[in-house]
């Protein structure tokens, strides 16, 4: 018991160290560098490139929320964050976390590639936004849903980075037993990406809605009432993304029963979900073309 405790403490230290220096994803880094080094790059393209990277989006929100605190509600919209911070500050921030050497080695996942992980995050963001639009939410709220989806799996980055070998075991065991991925994270590492995600969101002052969507996207019923809608949508978007097989971040199977239940809770007809497929696919293709990785797959 005591031994386990020490083990866990040591794990936490390593995870915290990774959070502090977590760089942008290798998938977006070339475009980030290109955009941010171009003095004439417009705010529109800056927003577009940042919004394709969960780490950079989180970092931009962290920067504004470490100083700004209107009415006790943190900023969860990238649009507003860029207005507040200004284009140059955002470029400067992005440049300091877009690290080219992250392209190879260290940062990549063994179980699945960084490109697949990126695709999964983006897909969950896009689906969450579509669901929000479907529910009739305003554009500003839709953006919060997008951000919550994009960031939901941030907790996997430090785990993969610090425990690459074990993380591969997690992936293998979860696949063999057809168990949820996060169960095996907890079993083999003593902590899962939901807890790590929650640590990141708290440390970055991202506010309760993002803290809860990072920590409860696998158990939306556990979150507080005021964020229940958002977290349920992110949770559903995650299942849909897995079901559509767009990218992967560990989980390969979807419990259909859960999918039907959650759809009902969110208020969308399960049979209509396939309607999303086309528009989501289109939006993701646009992103790939923007990043010029279409050829890579």
């Amino acid at each position: 018991m005591n031994h386990e405790f020490i083990h866990r403490e040591r794990h936490l230290k390593r995870i915290q160290a990774t959070i502090a220096g977590m760089p942008s994803l290798s998938t977006t880094v070339v475009k980030v560098l290109e955009t941010c080094n171009d003095p004439r790059a417009s705010a529109n393209s800056l927003k577009q490139v940042i919004s394709l990277d969960p780490v950079l989006t989180g970092r931009v929100l962290k920067l504004i929320n470490s100083a700004y605190y209107a009415l006790g509600k943190p900023i969860t919209s990238l649009t507003r964050a860029i207005i507040m911070l200004g284009v140059n500050t955002v470029k400067n921030l992005a440049l300091s976390f877009a690290i080219l050497k992250n392209m190879q080695g260290n940062g990549t996942f063994h179980a699945f590639t960084t490109d697949e992980f990126w695709l999964h995050c983006l897909c969950v963001g896009v689906v969450a936004k579509s669901l929000a639009a479907f529910k009739g939410l305003m554009p500003a709220e839709q953006e919060e849903y997008f951000v919550a989806g994009l960031l939901h799996d941030l907790g996997k980055i430090p785990l993969n980075k610090q425990f690459a070998e074990e993380y591969y075991q997690v992936w293998e065991s979860a696949g063999r037993k057809q168990d949820p991925f996060y169960h095996w994270e907890d079993r083999l590492l003593g902590i899962d990406h939901c807890k790590v995600g929650s640590m990141i969101a708290q440390k970055w002052h991202l506010g309760s809605s993002l803290v809860e969507s990072l920590s409860h996207h696998h158990d939306p019923d556990e979150c507080t009432e005021k964020n229940r809608d958002l977290v349920s949508v992110v949770s559903l978007a995650n299942l849909i993304a897995i079901d559509l097989k767009i990218g992967t971040a560990g989980d390969r199977l979807v419990d259909k029963g859960l999918l039907v239940d959650l759809s009902a809770k969110v208020g969308v007809d399960y049979s209509k979900l396939s309607n999303f497929q086309e528009s989501v696919g289109k939006e993701i293709d646009r992103a790939k073309i923007f990043l010029e990785i279409a050829q890579k797959g």
């Binding site: 529109n44 927003k47 100083a67 649009t79």
Partner: protein
């Protein structure tokens, strides 16, 4: 309250025959409260050197000074005077230095205190006589004790910068420099290929709301000390995004917020005394300012609030 301007210039100290009247030192303000020993200083630009010398002279042999220094941000023109602020070399001086966190993860102590390293200055931070405590600030309301309330407000500058509102016995002093009006940075030209309707409208809405919050921040101030580095045409032609305000906009915003007196500061280093006098002719004028008193701040000037 009595406010004294020890430095009103922006960007870089600008001595010389053209800045004799308004002064060439960069920003530093001294605030004294009646019946209190308390000293509050805003910013440590080059103006803080003379403030420090005057304090040393006043204190004579006593040598103890207790002061709070509120830094608006950590751009060089607002911190470069600190090593030359004589009281930091006296044992017995107790300073609290407050300021916003910067882009990097470094704490205020390193960002400001970093000037006191051997490569920049012969006396190192840990060799200083004074007892200095650094406190990171963000937006919010702070109780400074003895009936003084301080509100810190996020400004629009290329680096995180704060404006301060001090409330004491029904009197209000506000600072809002270095800042410019929030504006929509996203494309609003419908014929442009990158035009995005949602982004364009959300961007304008955010800018409008933030500008409204800004005016609420200095609402009813007895004295507002505001950035006015540029004229409207200078601003529009080349200076948008530099983090400084056009005078015309500031006067209008202050009028809307029912400010009683407006001091324009952070004068451009290239602005001569003659030019500032000319600008005064235009803006320091009851008719233009709708009853609000406007003046271009001068080094050494004292204002009773």
């Amino acid at each position: 309250m009595i406010l004294k301007f020890w430095g009103v210039r922006g960007s870089i100290p600008s001595p010389g025959p053209n800045t004799v009247k308004y002064g060439g030192n960069t920003l530093c303000l001294e605030l004294r409260l009646p019946d209190q020993e308390r000293l509050i200083i805003f910013d440590a630009g080059s103006g803080i050197r003379e403030l420090g010398d005057s304090l040393s002279a006043d204190n004579g042999n006593k040598g103890c000074l207790n002061a709070d220094i509120f830094l608006t941000h950590t751009h060089l023109d607002h911190i470069l005077g600190l090593p030359f602020f004589a009281p930091i070399h006296n044992p017995g001086t107790r300073l609290k230095i407050y300021g916003p966190v910067t882009c990097e993860e470094d704490p205020l102590e390193e960002v400001i205190g970093g000037q006191l390293s051997y490569r920049y200055f012969p006396i190192r931070q840990h060799e200083l006589g004074a007892d200095i405590e650094y406190i990171d600030l963000m937006e919010g309301k702070y109780n400074l004790g003895r009936g003084i309330t301080l509100i810190a407000k996020y400004l629009n500058h290329p680096l995180l910068a704060l404006g301060y509102r001090v409330e004491y016995r029904d009197k209000v002093l506000c600072t809002a420099y270095d800042t410019e009006p929030f504006y929509n940075v996203f494309c609003t030209d419908t014929s442009d290929a990158s035009f995005d309707e949602i982004l364009a409208s959300e961007g304008s809405r955010a800018a409008r709301e933030e500008n409204r919050r800004m005016e609420e921040f200095f609402k009813d101030a007895d004295l507002l000390i505001h950035d006015g580095q540029y004229t409207q045409s200078e601003y529009e032609n080349a200076k948008r995004g530099w983090g400084h305000s056009p005078i015309e906009y500031v006067v209008e915003a202050a009028k809307r917020a029912k400010v009683k007196r407006l001091a324009i500061c952070h004068h451009d280093p290239l602005r001569t005394d003659c030019q500032l006098d000319e600008l005064s002719q235009v803006y320091v004028n009851e008719e233009y300012a709708g009853g609000m008193k406007v003046f271009f701040a001068r080094e050494g000037q004292e204002v009773e609030i």
